[in-house]
Symmetry: C2
Subunit: 529 residues, 2 copies
Amino acid sequence: MPLPPGVSERDFASALEEFRRVVGDAWVFSSDADLDLYRDAYSPLRGEDEDPVPSAAVAPKATEQVQEVVRIANRYKVPLWTISTGKNLGYGGSAPCVSGTVMLDVKRMDRIIEVDEKNHYALVEPGVSYFDLYRYIHERRLKVWIDTPDPGWGSLIGNALERGGGYTPMRDHFDAHCGMEVVLPNGDLLRTGMGALPNSKTWQQYRYGFGPYLDGIFSQSSLGVVTKMGFWLYPQPEAQRSGTVSVPRRRDLVPLMEHVNYLMNSYIAQGTIRIQSALSSFGPSDPGLAALRARPGGATLEDVERHVAGRGQPYWSVALPFYGPPNVIAAQWEYAKERLGAAIPGARFQDGPEYRFPLTEEQIARITNGVSLGIPSLQAFSYGAGTTRGHLWFAPIIPMTGEAILEAQEVLMTSLTELGVPLTALIPPQSYFPRSIVVFVGFPITADVATNRRTRDTYRTLVKTAQEHGWGEYRTHIQFMDDVMESYSFNDHALRRFHEQMKDAIDPNGILAPGKNGIWPARLRPGRA
Amino acid sequence: MPLPPGVSERDFASALEEFRRVVGDAWVFSSDADLDLYRDAYSPLRGEDEDPVPSAAVAPKATEQVQEVVRIANRYKVPLWTISTGKNLGYGGSAPCVSGTVMLDVKRMDRIIEVDEKNHYALVEPGVSYFDLYRYIHERRLKVWIDTPDPGWGSLIGNALERGGGYTPMRDHFDAHCGMEVVLPNGDLLRTGMGALPNSKTWQQYRYGFGPYLDGIFSQSSLGVVTKMGFWLYPQPEAQRSGTVSVPRRRDLVPLMEHVNYLMNSYIAQGTIRIQSALSSFGPSDPGLAALRARPGGATLEDVERHVAGRGQPYWSVALPFYGPPNVIAAQWEYAKERLGAAIPGARFQDGPEYRFPLTEEQIARITNGVSLGIPSLQAFSYGAGTTRGHLWFAPIIPMTGEAILEAQEVLMTSLTELGVPLTALIPPQSYFPRSIVVFVGFPITADVATNRRTRDTYRTLVKTAQEHGWGEYRTHIQFMDDVMESYSFNDHALRRFHEQMKDAIDPNGILAPGKNGIWPARLRPGRA
């Protein structure tokens, strides 16, 4: 395994020795077999020399140990890369940007410190997964819901810090957090928000505290190691239902999104929506459509629209989620039907199932994927299963309008076709975050080095194509962090210059996660791609 | 007028000369008469030598001018204090912490750059007031609402940056922002979130951008001058109604708040609530109660409860706000009545008026204070009018529970009585922010120096009393910023140490707002009280 950049073998050995004194011999790993587990299982560099490899891993059990580890790392200038439960698949898994980095594995810090059923919040450590917190709540029959992403083995803290999303009204995970405890790059311990007030009674109830509100700078960040974090939970609703609206024509997406925006921005419908289309790339595969596309010159949008109409299919459909008392959600769905029915000729509506809570164990057992009901799952992780060695997400944010979705679909389909990528990689746009849409392209990772190399080139091309259209990624794989940060270039990269100015001030030795999201400490900056 | 600390008369004159070259002679102010306007109209130091006085004011019209002014200030080490519309009454008005500071008055930057009716957002400059944006929207009959605080002459940007609150579902003004343009202390120009992507299509639609999320550090901050900011607007609802629930006994507040929390955290009721009590300090004055309190030894809580019950009054009442389609809000209020009626014996319910939107001009004219309908007003600013020279807010955050409100009421009433402050200073606790409660004590400011001095001592005592109970202020007057930051002392003031580390890195000359929220640049730090 490689050494950290600029660290002698002797210093490295001393650092590991000191780590062992802090966490115990059993919790410092340096064998190849152990370290293999920290590499990216879905790496687009699989089998290539450039695939990043850690030099060791250290797994503290408590905040004081994290502080000690960070102080030791500073003394020896050993870079650390923090992982919580270590998933993050499709974005780099647990692997660091720089080979030779030591993994700071905090999954042993797995205490659920508090769950408050009356004020609806939890305070947890980074090793707590969605499954863990769900089980804790379920066993005690507490009347609160978690919001879980796909899949449930992720860490609440890790996912929120990477700004992941879920499905219920609390789907924006970073937005749903309240209060942090952070080990700073110098080993100091900071509590944000009301946590800075000793004996605070509102650490998980009021976010901002006093003075500049810091929490954001610790998300997608290399400025600290979050050791505790609070999350607002959704009070267990009485019921949930969804209602699907379908519209017949391609251009109907424009008024459809306009009214969906109204419903969602008014909090009438709440939760993640998916914009499903009759096109195979946005929906179930269709051999007739594939044949149409295979003709010389491909299919025009009109061809596709005619084909869809001929099959009596709707062109677009959206399932609207409603959470609350039965009479309220019935009135909300009725209103949505009235509003959309009046606005879009040919709009059709289908009632989804209604659930009443708490569910019985039998009901829970029958649910295939319960993420929209706050039940963690690994179901969605069957994506690409069996056919590939993993996947790689390209995920730009686009406006929440029909025009933008149509444009993105056209641009991405054209690009993918030109680049020879199967259109099945393009999955339905979603609203993980309020007021915007994320489009996901899930590139397959294969066992073939040449194919993966082409995929990387394609990815980089798409980052540029997206930028030209004014769309930027919300998060990316470690291999493309420099490329994506490069695209956020307003005023000669003022954003990156500011981040690196903060980085140098807060982490002068460049210990924490060098290269993360394109931000490099001074001593490694010359190596930026 | 005083010079900035450590700046020679000659350098100061040169700086003003350079400011004039940037903004024009007419927009640099240095006469006593002009500068009086920038002092705190409600100053608790009125008539005392320590009352902070600016040395000059400069009023740029455009972002480039702000950049130039900041660069000049750096050259001469002249501190700047930014104000937008310059209100902030009760918290220091437009006055700086340090006498001799130059006011950076950006109220001439008053462009409403964009209002999007379909995605429900606005992009504005700092000189835009709530009245300005309301008029713009009203004149064009756009179907979006602003959320306004008391009172409406404030700046959207200034209020959100100070983390003010309003009344509708978008009441947490900082939370409702999306995207900033910031002039940094070195004069560089930064755009946050998706604004860092050139030609971005989602600057006002997705908050976080890529990498660490910075916006929070520019709130209650001295790290930049915000020159543009986006705000999410609420889509014009079809209707609004409120429903008041009243409960008879003091201890009923505990289950009342528990169920109110459920309703609000579930988004069934949305908007600011006030917890009104029969006690004169939390509600209308009552001579009988005053007589009871005036007895030797005062009134016990039991005395008060008996008195209230004897008058057939409820002990507590809360008006729940509902926004949305008529059938939805009717179902929401029905649900609230069922839930609260079943939980609290003796609970009574009263329907408030229902409004349908858009209102006619006649309806608008009849509304006294329309802040809960997104209509800015100056009505609430009649607070203390005629009897005092102004007021001073003490505003700690407490948990959103009945127990905490009862405790805060007791602690604050006892403290105020001991300190000889009229109990009318204690106004009803409110939920400006989700999941927590702000208690406001509005100390009167008088023309009498000795009285004001006692008020300041009382204020400082209350900061400490609150801290002992685990309650911290969300915002404070310039005179007490050091005291409040002092109370956020976890781990030997790790929060302040971190803020000052950032301050020194980002603003090495300590140009912007020295002392704001207790954060001092290195060169002025020794002067901390």
